[in-house]
Each structure stands twice: as structure tokens, then as C-alpha cells.
Symmetry: C2
Subunit: 231 residues, 2 copies
Amino acid sequence: MEEAKFRYKYWRPAVTVDNVVFSFDGTHLNTLLIKRKNEPYKDCWAFPGGFLEEKETLEEAARRELKEETGLAPKYMSEIGSFSALDRDPRGRTISVAFASVVRPSQTAAVAGDDAIDARWFPINEMPMLAFDHEHIYRKALWLLRLGFMNAPIAFVLLGDLFTLPEMQRLYTDVFSRTFDRRNFQKKFLSSGILTPVAQDEEEKKNPHAPIYYRFNEAGYKQFREKIMKI
Amino acid sequence: MEEAKFRYKYWRPAVTVDNVVFSFDGTHLNTLLIKRKNEPYKDCWAFPGGFLEEKETLEEAARRELKEETGLAPKYMSEIGSFSALDRDPRGRTISVAFASVVRPSQTAAVAGDDAIDARWFPINEMPMLAFDHEHIYRKALWLLRLGFMNAPIAFVLLGDLFTLPEMQRLYTDVFSRTFDRRNFQKKFLSSGILTPVAQDEEEKKNPHAPIYYRFNEAGYKQFREKIMKI
DNA sequence: CCAAAAGTGTTGCGTATACACCCATGT
DNA sequence: ACATGGGTGTATACGCAACACTTTTGG
């Protein structure tokens, strides 16, 4: 028999957190999944997560669980929403609050820890079946990522320090599930002042088709945002 | 001593829901607040809400509490987010999930019920001090309302069946906290196909300055959205 | 009589879109 | 040599912002 040392006057649900983490490998947008070590959904792929503990906020819980299960520690995290269908967890009534985050390419090394047999990055178009209602969480996460792309410079976290415009375009193509005209795409961002080209060395200067690397220009981005906001 | 009949192996937080309801009175955007009958924050103004019960989702709980405390039953509700600061509720660790909704002008009659001494609509620029972290919830709700205005026809729920363009413009002015040029505002919406003018009677036709009433055109709105989405 | 609300068009500018060719690299 | 990826400029269309005057109504 299980020990039940927490007693309350009124009913309370169990509360969990889940993490949808995005990364970009230069070609495709990926999300991080773990293969569950325990029931329910043992051996299924799921977003890393776990139970809220007493002395932490929901976001803190999400960060803790992500660190424990995969070793990742994203800088920015934002809430996707809560999920509370009555039958979403076979263990009993559980509500989950999901968080989305993005990591830089240099920080995508994931190790399966704790409750996970495995931790792997999946391109968003090759996702396996997911445990619980995580398919549902995933759709909302992707929607939120799109909103984030339009309202914050999170694309540049995914791209990392140095990137080419074709890389950036592949990222946008994956995120928005649509194609972009290459010339218009480049014109748009080059004229926005958001990007700073990286100086080419002598070798590169001789080659008119050498790839051009850019880095994110924070000051330029702020100006750009203010101009959009107007008044 | 309180009876504590719910026992759990692991710690669980109390879970509440809160409602930010918006309405429009022809001049200003309003939100609905109740004056609390009980501690904590007795006699303070707060958003209507209460504890999640066992056989309901979070949204169902929000609807139930709103109905109990104010009599309102909005058609559409969307999640604002969750709030989980450790000290947000003096009664102990409580997390809250907040929901935003809008009601038609014809359905704004609010009666204080249950845990409320009073229930009143406050223009958003004349809000009193709020209980708990509700100020925080409110700011996020307003932000979400703006997003909603840009992505869904919720303005027309707030406006009700018939409305004039100046009314509509006052609504937008309140929601976005900024002014709009009257002619550009009208041109934009009249050319969008979203609005259908209501036939004027003989009296009105003689008066070149009689107010022109419009109603929301759902088919026109759908076309408009599809055009925006492109590809 | 005055103030406030509401009706009404035109023009310019800037941003978004559509579109074709060349070169270099690797297979 | 062929396919792929990546570099580059121009012309057009559409939406957005700026802008002034007149009439009615109510105080």
C-alpha cells in the first residue's frame, strides 16, 4: 500500500509540466523527444516533463525537468498553455502546463537522463507517435513559435552566432510551412538593418559566389521593432 | 480541526481559475470585477474565479465559476496563461489558470452571486486596485485581446449585432490604446468586405448625416482572412 | 451661438510581390 | 556535363498614412 502523507480538505489535481524544445541544424527545425523509461506510455516518445514540486513555479519546474531528463538549459522559455482533459493521463486526473523554448545550435547536445531511455532530436516533419496528448501540445507549440518569430528575435537564437541567408530561409520555410522567394526574402532582411554581414577574408573576396555570413544586430532589431510599432 | 479527506502520495498544489471578461458599452471597453465576500482580500475587487473541481476541465471550471459569481456565460473563451508565483495566494501554494472572454452588449447584465458582494463593469482606464496578482493577469489579458483582434472577429462579438463605424473605432482605440484616422479606419473596413451596411429608412435617407449602421459579414470575413493568409 | 460628432476622397510613399539569369561546386 | 545551391536587380501593385471641410445635433 502506498504511503499517502499529503492530506487536503478539498480535491486537488496532480500538476505536471512539459517542454517543447526547438532547435535548428542548418537544414531543418527539430524538436527534442525522450523515450519514456516508465509506465504509462513506456517506450513511447514524449516531450520531456514531470511533476510540479512544492517550492518552484511552473517555469522553474519545466526547467528542472528538462535539465534532469535531457541536460538542456534554454535561456528563454514561454508558456504554451495548459491541458486538462479528464482522461489525458491514465494515472488519474492530471493537468499539464506546457512550455516552449529554443536553443542555440551550440547547445543542442542532449543526453538521456533520469526517466528517459533515449533523447533525440526529430525534424518536425518526421515526428513519431507521441505519448499522452502531446500531439496536441505540439501543434499549439508550433503555432506559438510562429507568433514568436513575428514578435521576437527568436529566429536568431535558433540560427546561432553566424549564419547564411539560405540557412535562415530554410528555417523560415520550416517554421511557416511555406516557401519564400529567395530574392524577396533577402531583400527584406538586408534592408531591415537586423543583420550585420561578417567581413570576408581575402580568399572569399576573390570568389564572387563565396557564402556570406551574417550575425544578428541587436540594435538594428530594436530600431526595426520600434518602427513597426509606430506611435 | 479541518477534515482532510483527500490524501496523496505526493504534494499537489491547489488549482484555481480566473476570468477576465471584456464588454463594450458603445464608448468604452470594460472588464467585469467582483467584490470579494470572503478572505483573503475580502472587500477587494478581483476577477471572478475559484477552485478547479474533479470532473471538469479548466475551461469548464472557469465557465462554472463565472456563471456562479456573475451569471455570465460567454460563448468563446481562450486561455491567458497560468500564474504560479510561490506567494501569490496567502492561503498557501495555489496556481491559477486565467481565461479571457468577450460578451455581446446584450449579454452584459451581471448579478453578484455566491462569493461576491458586488459585480461591476469597470472601464479599462478606471480599474480599481485588484486582489492577488490580478493586475498581472489583466495585463496579459489585454495583450491577448489585441492579438485576438488581429486574428479573429472578436471585435464583432463586443460590438453586437448593429453598430456604427465611430463606435467601432472607439472600441479599437480602447483596445489598442491609440488613435486612428477616421477616414483611413473607415476606408480600411469598408473596402475589406467585412461589413454590411443596414438599409436606411426614408427619414434617414433625407439626412446626409444620419448614422449608418453596419453588421458583421461572416462570409466576407472568411474571404478577407483567406486573402491575408495567402498561399 | 458654439462645440462636438460624424460624414466624405485624393495623393504619395513605402513595402511586398513577381520574375530570370549567371557562376561555382560537386557528382 | 549536369544538377544543385547560391549570388544578384527591376518593375508593378497594393495597402497605408497624411490630410480639410461640411453638416447636424445638442447644450
